[in-house]
Amino acid sequence: MATFFGEVVVAPSRAGLDEEEEAREETPEDREIRREIEKKRYRQRGEIREREIQVLWSCAEESLVCSRFIVAIGRNAAAFLSSFILDSVCWEVIGVVKLWNEWCRTSSSTNVLPTDSFCLFYRLISDPTVLLCQCSCYVAEDQQFQWLEKVFGSMQKKGLQVTILSTCPVADYKTQESTLTLVSPFLKALKTKEFQEQVCCPLLEQPNIVRDLPAA
């Protein structure tokens, strides 16, 4: 991407695209320097090591029984849930994800503003096996797998059905016609073959794909 002054700045990415950097062999001195830097970062941050994420549950049970899990990823999807689904009468906050990456940092606070970066878990009071997650923060590529393992690892799955809500820019949609003439917003879906129910919208056509945490 170009900055104001025209120089090209490589956008931070955790994808290993630069093989030269990776191919460089580490000398013992390099290893020592890297270890010291990591130790310093750990001390500065205090709570968590830089790339690790923490899932904190407020309920006492060791593992949550879950039959329905709705995950809203990104600000738009999170805002949709806040506007149409969530309220303090029917839903209670039961967990939070604490993480840090180059794009955002979340805290363990559950009292958040819509403009904050956060990742919260809610439970339906009338049916505690229904869980909901609002994830408005960006989970980096090397944290996505961790997020999955830690969140799903805390659940006892009982005929679990997972619904993932997310948004993508229309400009990224690949289609024969121009996206300028496309009526937007529009819905598309992907489903596993185990999902037997009716899907409320057309399926995502090739060559379109889904990336990041929704894909993970």
Binding site: Q144, Q206, A215
Partner: protein
């Protein structure tokens, strides 16, 4: 790492003993991956499983090899395994880049899976930056091969018959000392690591690569897959009666997912 697909209720792991594993390196122009797409699409290979790994950037979409409405709804992810038992061929397709610092663990896990599934040999399709060629490499064929010592014994003669060119080594300290030569595959992704590890672990591996640049790499993919076909004979190259030459390019089937590689249609208002 390898999770077999549940097909028709039978979830036993498929047997790859004695099979040839064909796989791409995520490299310049994605030529290896495009070539693998052509192989899977043309041979109508069946998906038999996938790799559950945290080493690759996640992605998901619908079936990239769909030919009709009915078979277009199967989900597809970043590392999937296809097989064709009649040709003793198992193919791994990788669809996304490696996560930083994760390419080494992936290579280790992959090679240990190759050993545990008792594949006879591995063929790696790759590419290298065309701009890094020296004066001699600029002339002649842009295709190169490499064989591990164990595979050299088995197929070295066949490769000589085909008149293939081995990938040249370069000076470790150019300009200073020309005697120490090392293997250098710029833009080749995990190619060099996989090859050197296979040499030291006694795995039979062949690397087939093409010098190319980023751009429209579809022609490069065709060239590479025809190169592979000279050796493995995956499809029959029919002699064209009009000009009496063998041109198997038209016999490779382009998958439906190659549509719109260079963007959407143009808005009519532009004109």
């Amino acid at each position: 790492m390898f999770i077999p697909c549940d097909r028709g209720g039978c979830s036993a792991a498929p047997d790859f003993k004695g099979f040839t594993l064909l796989m791409p390196a995520v490299s310049v122009g994605n030529v290896g991956q495009l070539a693998i797409d052509l192989v899977i699409s043309t041979l109508g290979m069946t998906k038999v499983g996938y790799f559950y790994t945290d080493c690759l950037v996640p992605m998901v979409g619908n079936n990239p090899y769909a030919t009709a409405e009915e078979n277009s709804v199967e989900l597809s992810i970043n590392a999937e395994v296809y097989s064709l038992p009649s040709k003793k061929l198992v193919v791994l397709q990788i669809r996304s880049p490696f996560i930083k610092n994760k390419y080494r663990p992936f290579c280790e896990t992959l090679l240990s899976w190759v050993k545990s599934s008792k594949c006879a040999r591995v063929v790696l399709l790759s590419s290298s930056h065309a701009y890094q060629r020296d004066d001699e490499q600029l002339l002649g064929t842009p295709l190169r091969y490499l064989l591990t010592p164990d595979l050299e014994k088995a197929v070295g003669a066949r490769v000589k018959e085909l008149n293939w060119k081995e990938m040249e080594k370069v000076a470790a300290y150019p300009g200073i000392n020309d005697t120490d030569k090392v293997l250098h595959i710029p833009g080749g992704g995990i190619t060099k690591l996989l090859f050197t590890e296979s040499c030291s672990e006694g795995i039979q591996m062949a690397v087939l690569l093409k010098f190319c640049s980023e751009g429209d790499n579809i022609p490069d993919a065709f060239v590479l897959v025809n190169y592979l076909n000279e050796w493995l004979q995956l499809i029959k190259s029919e002699v064209s009666t009009s000009n009496n030459s063998t041109d198997p390019s038209s016999q490779w089937k382009i998958p439906s997912s190659w549509r719109l590689l260079f963007g959407n249609g143009l808005p009519p208002a532009l004109f």
